[in-house]
């Protein structure tokens, strides 16, 4: 009894610390305190649980913990461009843990105390394993796509009747789940259970297969939410309020992030998950008369030197080329000339929420110069040079008026309102959404073709060489 109160008390403190941990994330100044608070909460939860008298086999705890540390440590040291896949991978681990604990509890109670398998618990167990295992394979697929693993198709894979097949699979899993909930101890129940697991695993794969790279920020956020909800379901199964609160915090975080991502693309959840963006293209070519105006880094450097406000618009291309450090050098060169330099960050730039901010912070750019889309857009008409680095769809003016465009209605950064636009692009191929960007054909746009890192390196060289001669 005393012990139970001790554990509940520790859980209560841990809950509060988790809430504070997220609260402190509201400002970069206090955010690291949030990590400390989270670590303290987790330690408290682990130690107080471990100290319970039911836990008798300590070696069974020590070994997995050590292996977990051995695997987790290197995962924390990946280059920051690999953060999206690391995040997806950890959603997979979260889903797996929930699914396995649900499975273990079901078979345990089936064998040792069928009276434990109440309706409420069965509902929770079914929710836990479906959410857990579909998050597991779904996130693995997402991580594979982000890591560009060879045997996982990068492009969205679609086939006729895809959504019906998914829906059918989900319905069958649901019906089997209901059968188990009604009849958890029937003879056939232990055989149906693995079937549900199998279907959830399959569903996770099928759900992610039709999703392309540009939708990854939303999908990662949704999977984040599922991972949290599976922890909540585990809390219902185990009658554990700490699991419920911590899972709910994670679930609501995933929910808010997915809403932000969806809004930033002007799409609904349903559309992201079932719309197979990037596959079906109207194939509407722009007028033949339109041509790119190429520019050399030398010419671009001269214009940049004359500017008083430069806005750099980074996209996934910057991450791919690992160009953030060169961008920082360019930032330094321009600042040295008294030019104001700001970064315009679109919410879905990159492959996960906030991806660009982290990369630019890594390159030591003060976060006060990283400006959100909504805040920078009013200043764009005053901007002398907009420098687009590996971004594409987020600056496509077609989103404003072209109703046939797949990105119609998506809020964009108003690069086209700047006096001059330079776009650094690796090739003449269209971006991830597979559409031509008419910004590139505008009168005030000059294209600088080449690898983002090389081009910006060249710009820096021009600027530093120029200043050296004077």
């Amino acid at each position: 009894m005393n012990n139970a109160s001790f554990v509940q008390g520790a859980y209560l403190v841990a809950t509060a610390l988790f809430v504070f941990s997220l609260h402190w994330m509201n400002d970069p100044k206090t955010a690291r305190r949030g990590v400390m608070s989270g670590v303290a909460a987790m330690l408290l939860a682990v130690v107080s649980t471990w100290a319970q008298p039911v836990v008798v086999d300590h070696i069974w705890i020590i070994v997995p913990i050590l292996v977990g540390i051995a695997v987790g440590w290197p995962l924390a040291l990946v280059p920051l461009t690999a953060v999206p896949q690391r995040t997806a991978l950890s959603h997979a681990f979260g889903g797996l843990a929930a699914g396995l604990v649900g499975t273990a509890k079901y078979y345990l109670w089936l064998g040792e105390g069928p009276e434990n398998l109440t309706k409420f618990r069965m509902i929770a167990i079914i929710a836990e394993i479906i959410l857990g295992f579909l998050t597991f394979t779904g996130s693995l697929m997402a991580a594979g796509k982000l890591q560009e693993v060879k045997w996982i198709p990068q492009r969205p894979v679609t086939y006729p009747g895809q959504n019906y097949i998914n829906l059918a699979l989900f319905l069958i899993a649901g019906v089997l789940g209901v059968m188990l909930i009604v009849n958890p101890t029937a003879d056939w129940a232990p055989k149906i259970f693995p079937v549900i697991i199998g279907m959830a695993l399959m569903f996770g794969v099928l759900l992610i297969i039709p999703i392309g790279g540009a939708d990854m920020p939303t999908v990662i956020a949704i999977l984040n939410s599922y991972a949290g909800l599976s922890a909540v379901a585990m809390g219902f199964v185990l009658d554990n309020k700490l699991l419920i609160t911590a899972g709910a915090l994670d679930g609501s975080s995933g929910l808010i992030l997915s809403i932000i991502m969806c809004k930033a693309m002007n799409r609904s959840f349903f559309n992201v998950l079932f719309g197979a963006f990037g596959q079906v293209q109207a194939g509407k070519a722009l007028g033949e008369g339109k041509v790119y105006k190429p520019e050399t880094p030398e010419g671009a450097a001269q214009i940049l030197e004359q500017a008083s406000l430069v806005v750099i618009i980074p996209g996934y291309g910057m991450a791919v080329a690992q160009a953030q450090h060169k961008v920082r050098e360019l930032y330094d060169q321009l600042k040295k000339r008294g030019i104001t330099v700001k970064f315009a960050i679109h919410p879905v730039a990159g492959r996960m929420p906030g991806h660009m901010n982290v990369l630019l912070a890594e390159a030591d750019i003060p976060y006060t110069d990283l400006i959100e889309m909504d805040e920078i857009n009013p200043d764009m008409p005053q901007c002398d040079v907009a420098l687009v680095v590996g971004a594409n769809d987020v600056v496509n003016p077609a989103a404003r008026y072209d109703k046939t465009s797949p990105i119609y209605g998506m809020p964009i950064i108003d690069a086209d309102k700047a006096r001059t636009v330079f776009a650094i692009k690796r090739s003449k191929n269209p971006g991830f959404a597979g559409i031509d960007n008419e910004l590139y054909f505008s009168d005030k746009t000059w294209m600088v073709f080449g690898d983002a890192k090389a081009v910006i390196g060249e710009l820096v060289k021009q600027l530093s060489g120029g200043s050296g001669m004077h």
Partner: protein
């Protein structure tokens, strides 16, 4: 185990659902105010926090249960622990990079001057 058997049939699920609803509202309120700059670290820290599944895994792996059950628990414990360690570490690593002032600019100036 025995204590579990006795407590089992009467899960007070209403109070659990209340906790869930309230925690979700708190979560929505707190997360809404998180700086947009920090959405990537936010995702990695909530990841680490949802690895609270570690609590369930410890009970399943460490109790006196049949072997197959304990194996499932041990794998779950491994997965959660991986998330705890990598989640908190990488969050801190990223947060350290967010600064208002740049570091001393170009420490390698001497070599770079000629190029």
């Amino acid at each position: 185990m025995i204590q579990e058997h006795a407590a089992a049939p009467a899960t007070d699920y209403w109070s659990l659902l209340f906790v869930f609803a309230l925690a979700t509202f708190i979560g929505l309120g707190v997360i809404r105010r998180v700086s947009r700059l920090l959405h990537t670290p936010l995702m990695s820290i909530t990841n680490a926090i949802s690895a609270i599944a570690v609590v369930g895994s410890i009970i399943v792996a460490g109790s006196d249960y049949p072997l197959e059950i304990k194996i499932l628990g041990a794998i779950a414990l491994f997965a959660s622990m991986t998330n705890i360690v990598s989640g908190f570490l990488i969050t801190d690593r990223m947060l350290k990079m967010f600064k208002t002032e740049p570091r001393t600019p170009e420490p390698k100036k001497l070599e770079g001057g000629k190029s």
